[in-house]
Symmetry: C2
Subunit: 370 residues, 2 copies
């Protein structure tokens, strides 16, 4: 069981206002501490659905060959993004710019990442333009850097890439030496645009989508959110509630005794120290993060590491926690979720394994619980 | 008599290899110390003309309504530009990118500035694509900043703006809050592209061209270059040779006794101190520059200031000098040339008067010598 392999995941066919709430809750867990709190983005998506109607969701296997699927997202420093949640206008500008550069019609949109605020941004575009949303994404979670995307590992190009902001500035990259160059150029433009922007990029055709997008991650986020909501309503154990949906397991339970956090080069980096609760007979654990949680270590060694998902939930309520929400004294469960098997392909793993984040350790794969 | 008003300026109808040499020499004078030494650009233009044939020159009054005229140039730090003189490939990429963003056909190109290396770059594109070159530009000289362009004062937009480099990175700005925003975004992208790029921008239609481009500045550069070349061949006074062409006059003659120069925020800023030759009965003068010469002052006060042109020539040979070519002991004439009357229109003057460069003095207009 993993982010992609669950056989009985209920697939979402349409997203209405109520579904957005579950999606946002599940995306907070899949955000693994980063990606921003999606509730603000959820309010925007709900407003768009109220105005333009619900969003149709299509299976990645059912997308036709008559055009391209274009992911849209916010790019920039998370703190700035949350201050500048986009209106629909920037999304319209980004798509207009994209269509001018791309010969093929845009037949659908999708999230570039399944966690955090970018899980809800594409819903705004989809509702406004009557586009379907593909039930997939390019990470199966959130990652801090744009090139950390399965689509790129499969050969998708980051360009044409279009950035738009609320002042109607529109910057495009229509050619680049490689995806890393496109990323570097885009980052420079985003800084000049004030620190955040809407981005349309990594357009994929049906074949690349089928082979390299993480399938059913929209449905997964909704299922996780629904399970967490129902567990809370019934006072059930949140981890037990989501385990059948995503293969989640408890890695450690503890109380926050230290939070180190600094903003470096547009990323929030830091370390969380936990003192074990009685349930584990004490001990300590540390969680390192760069926007997202990267690795969790106890006195017994590494408990989990990227690309597998490391998420924290508040022990009592099961509420998923973002890095910004951490504070001294909080009692939390550390949850591990196996990453999409796509990340373990040889083309993809070097983009996101521990070494990609500066840890001199070999990748450790969380076993499937079945 | 001024940069634009000479009634008997011989108009150039075609530019062949020999004409490029005169154009580059004249453009060094109109570069007023900046814009880079156009001889390297001249070699590129000559190579393109050798391969693709001479470039047809059209009068700005004769440009039709069936498309737009697109200036192309190099943008970036002058020192980097001279190390990265573009091949034709970047110009092709910039124009392809431009045509994708601009609905109207490109019917001609022209220089954005009449001085320095950017006077010859458009010839490379014109030769490669069989496009005519309009006998005009957007400054009638060189200026250090992109928004210092008559076309912008007349309402032309800087965007669509397309940047391309030798690694085939192509960055476009297809919308902006205003020309200053477009400039800021373009500068950020140019820095990320390694410090210089080819740019296509400030496209104009026939009406804007007629009203706001500086007319006949290509012919003027060629006429100045020819006059300087012939004066040197015959041992004639260079200033007397070019005076009938452009209204040039000698402002000061002196020996360089000090050169202060520093590179700040991508500009070369500094001051040149001259000790007067006997012809002026001694005295001192100072020339301040920001890439281009901005103001010349003697003990008697301001002799000339932007937007009028302040150029230096080597006293013996009449060779126009760039800021980089200045050195202790050099004997020079300081020449003033009246700016295009377009710069004295109220919409345009604030872009380039002494206050635009931080001098707290009112504009001083060089009188026409007749």
């Amino acid at each position: 069981m993993s982010v992609t392999a669950m056989p009985h995941l209920p697939l979402v066919e349409e997203i209405d206002e109520a579904t957005v709430s579950d999606l946002a809750l599940g995306a907070t867990l899949l955000g693994t501490g980063g990606g921003g709190d999606p509730r603000v983005g959820a309010l925007m998506a709900q407003a768009a659905i109220r105005e333009f109607g619900p969003v149709r969701v299509v299976d990645p296997q059912a997308v036709g060959d008559d055009g391209v699927v274009v992911p849209v997202a916010m790019i920039g420093a998370p703190t700035v993004i949350l201050e500048r949640i986009p209106g629909g206008h920037e999304l319209d500008l980004a798509m207009q710019g994209f269509e001018r550069l791309q010969g093929r019609p845009v037949i659908a949109t999708m999230p570039i990442e399944a966690g955090g605020i970018n899980s809800t941004i594409p819903l705004v575009l989809a509702a406004r333009r009557g586009l379907p949303l593909v039930d997939a994404d390019g990470m199966g979670r959130a990652f801090p850097e744009v090139q950390m995307v399965t689509l790129g590992a499969g050969g998708a190009k980051a360009w044409p890439l279009v950035l738009a902001d609320e002042s109607a500035n529109v910057v495009s990259i229509s050619g680049a030496r490689d995806n890393a160059s496109a990323e570097r150029l885009a980052r420079a433009a985003v800084v000049a645009m004030g620190g955040s922007a809407v981005v349309a990029h990594y357009a994929v055709d049906a074949q690349l989508l089928r082979e390299w997008a993480v399938p059913h991650s929209v449905s997964l986020a909704v299922a996780i959110g629904r399970a967490l909501r129902e567990a809370r309503a019934h006072g059930d154990d949140p981890i037990a509630a989501i385990a059948p949906v995503c293969g989640a397991r408890r890695l450690f339970s503890g109380q926050v005794v230290d939070v180190q956090r600094s903003t470096v080069a547009g990323f929030v980096r830091g370390r969380l120290t936990l003192k074990g609760l009685d349930v584990d007979a004490g001990g300590r654990a540390e969680v390192d993060f760069q926007n997202e949680n990267l690795i969790v270590r106890s006195e017994e060694g590494v408990l989990a590491a990227v690309p597998d998902l490391i998420s924290l939930v508040e022990a009592e309520s099961g509420q998923p926690l973002t890095t910004e929400g951490m504070r001294f004294g909080l009692r939390v469960h550390v949850i591990g979720i196996p990453a999409s098997p796509l990340w373990w392909r040889p083309e993809a793993l070097p983009l996101v394994d521990p070494r990609a984040f500066g840890y001199d350790i070999d990748p450790i794969r969380m076993e499937d619980p079945r």
